[in-house]
């Protein structure tokens, strides 16, 4: 026998309780990891090399206020601007859905091509999209979700704009950070709106990352003191400000995570206290046999640590498997797209989040052992021997 096997036998002496403790830690850790992943996905938009070059200019007054289309020619003349396209969020409803979880944007197809350089065309042809004003470029995720194919027609009902339209799928893209969106001709929207002459936002691509800040300043300066001043920012900054419209998601998920951790500590501390209290007599015997307080404290700590880290490993591993390997585990029957009805395109449990969960589980094991260790330490051999079995 070794001291490690002695600890293991003690930890598993009440198997039902040990199992329930491990499961409670596992489920809580899985919940914590899920919340942290949700927080990350909502507050930290994914970055790519191409996204570091992209810039969005919107009306300084409000995102809801459109910008005059004539700004396009001024923007494309600004030094450092490689390409610019109108980028107008349509926000329509697809078919008879109550809410459509993916976006439709009106763009200039010829210009837009240089803006989504990380996307590759997997079906149909981009040239076809450019040629046909009543066509669209659709993300692979949406195509798969609705089991569509190139040539199918998509009908949208306007919610922000008082127009409905139907477009044909001319091409399918894949490889961007969000392969759900539908892009259609800005000219179509303009016509439907009766010669609107406006754009929701401008989507720009800078020549290099080094000139991004200069471009931002120049665009802002170009329209300063005009009737349509703009606010220009990087794509990432824009996405973050967009997320902030959900409210303080970070605070909310953070608060729930704290509650989960706190509850977990109470549950584990209570379980460990029970486990140690019913062994007071045995601990007193061990003291009588020559074991010192620090050794007994080590036993309690090791037992608590083992249970919580085992639970943590199960929960974190389970969360990773569920969120990162969902389609593999369910043989493609369940995907994140289906589960969240398209709201969350990505939900990746990262190594950093897993490490945070592991640290929480480890700290939990230590914190849960503190009170039992103190109580054990304060109890004399004689007092311990007097306790009932």
């Amino acid at each position: 026998m070794t001291l490690a096997s002695f600890v293991a036998k003690n930890a598993l002496r009440n198997r039902r309780r040990a199992l329930l403790t491990i499961l409670s830690v596992a489920i809580s850790c899985a919940l914590l990891v899920t919340l942290l992943t949700l927080q990350r996905e909502l507050t930290t938009p994914p970055e790519s090399e191409a996204s570091s070059l992209r810039i969005i200019a919107r009306n300084k007054v409000s995102l809801m206020q459109p910008l005059p289309y004539k700004q396009l020619t001024q923007i494309e003349r600004i030094p450092g601007v490689k390409q610019v396209s109108p980028f107008t969020y349509f926000g329509g409803k697809f078919r008879d859905e109550e809410a459509t979880g993916w976006a439709q944007f009106a763009v200039d197809p010829a210009r837009f091509r240089q803006l989504i350089i990380e996307g590759r065309i997997t079906d149909g042809s981009y040239e076809d999209f450019i040629r046909d004003r009543n066509s669209c470029l659709l993300g692979r995720d949406t195509l798969d979700r609705y089991q569509l194919k190139v040539g199918d027609k998509l009908k949208f009902t306007g919610t922000f704009y008082p127009v409905d339209f139907e477009v044909r799928i001319a091409a399918v893209y894949q490889g961007t950070v969000d392969d759900r969106n539908c892009f259609f001709h800005h000219k179509l929207l303009d016509e439907l709106m009766g010669g609107w002459g406006m754009a929701g936002t401008w989507y720009l691509c800078a020549d290099s990352p080094a000139v991004v800040n200069d471009v931002i300043n120049r665009v802002d300066a170009t329209f300063a003191n005009t009737s349509a001043e703009v606010r220009t920012e990087t794509e990432r900054a824009f996405q973050l400000s967009f997320v902030s419209m959900f409210g303080n998601v970070k605070l909310l998920t953070g608060a729930i995570s704290l509650v989960v951790v706190f509850t977990l500590i109470l549950v584990s501390a209570s379980t460990m206290s029970m486990a140690i209290r019913e062994r007071f007599r045995e601990l007193a015997v061990l003291k009588a046999l020559g074991f010192q307080r620090r050794e007994l404290a080590g036993f309690i700590l090791a037992e608590s640590f083992a249970l919580s880290t085992l639970g943590g490993a199960l929960g974190i591993g389970g969360a990773w498997a569920f969120w990162n390997q969902m389609d593999v585990l369910t043989f493609g029957h369940l995907t994140l797209q289906k589960l969240t009805k398209g709201f969350m395109p990505y939900f990746e449990v990262t190594p950093r989040i897993m490490a945070t969960g592991a640290i929480v589980a480890a700290v939990l094991g230590i914190v849960a052992a503190i009170m039992p260790m103190i109580t054990m330490s304060r109890t004399s051999v004689v007092e311990g021997l007097k306790t009932l079995d």
Partner: protein, 240 residues
């Protein structure tokens, strides 16, 4: 003290030992200035009514409780001068404990229970195994080494507890009513075993009991009353 072989240095020397417990606002005197010597190899039985101080005396000379005043010298060491850590190490090497309710660890086998105090020594794994085997064979349970306590009878469990007590080869064996939970046959087996350890292995056994029949196995009985030694009776030889 003198024996037929001449003067022998006592293994335990107790002088003016006093223990006062505080119960609420009241001081309770459990031991009131007890002084006595115990020779090596003696089988001392502590008797007396409940609250007479016999268990307190046992706890103090075994180093699991602290005296209010007085000294306890075991093999010349004043255990009152040892700190908690030193005292734990001293107990491991010098005292074997046998309790009324056996106090074996239920999740460990007989061999593992016996091995427990040896985990604190510098012995190698194979040396520990050999010592465990010897101890279990000495108590007649060599064939029960891999049985858990719930697979053993009460008498067998107490014999495992005795094997655990002698595993580190301590000079002193303290037993607190070791036959209190046993039937007559098992009690006799346990008492014979303790007697054999005293007589043949030279262990000093100090046992608390209420049972006069159990007391008859000792070589000396100390009758305590209100924290004082009322009678000190020596038997001429081991009985029965």
């Amino acid at each position: 003290m003198e024996t037929s072989h001449g003067p022998v240095e006592p293994i335990v020397q107790i002088r003016d030992l006093t223990k006062i417990y505080r119960q609420g606002d009241i001081d309770v005197t459990a031991l009131a200035g007890v002084s006595l010597d115990i020779a090596p190899g003696e089988f001392v039985v502590l008797m007396g009514p409940s609250g007479s101080g016999k268990s307190t005396l046992l706890h103090l000379l075994a180093g699991i409780d602290r005296a209010t005043s007085g000294t306890v010298l075991v093999q010349g060491i004043n255990i009152a001068n040892l700190n908690e850590s030193e005292l734990a190490g001293w107990r491991n090497q010098n005292v074997g404990f046998v309790f009324q309710s056996f106090n074996l660890i239920p999740v460990l086998t007989a061999a593992e229970n016996v091995e427990l105090p040896l985990l604190l020594t510098a012995l190698s794994r194979s040396e520990r195994k050999a010592q465990v085997r010897t101890a279990l064979e000495l108590v007649g349970l060599g064939d029960r080494a891999h049985h858990r306590p719930d697979q053993l009878s009460g008498g067998q469990q107490q014999r495992v507890a005795i094997a655990r007590a002698i595993a580190t080869d301590p000079a002193l064996l303290v037993a607190d009513e070791p036959t209190g939970n046993l039937d007559a046959k098992s009690a006799a087996d346990v008492l014979n075993l303790l007697q054999r350890l005293s007589r043949e292995a030279g262990k000093t056994v100090i046992m608390v009991t209420h049972d006069p029949k159990a007391a008859s196995y000792g070589t000396r009985s100390l009758h305590l009353e209100k924290g004082e030694v009322e009678r000190d009776v020596r038997a001429t030889s081991f009985t029965p």
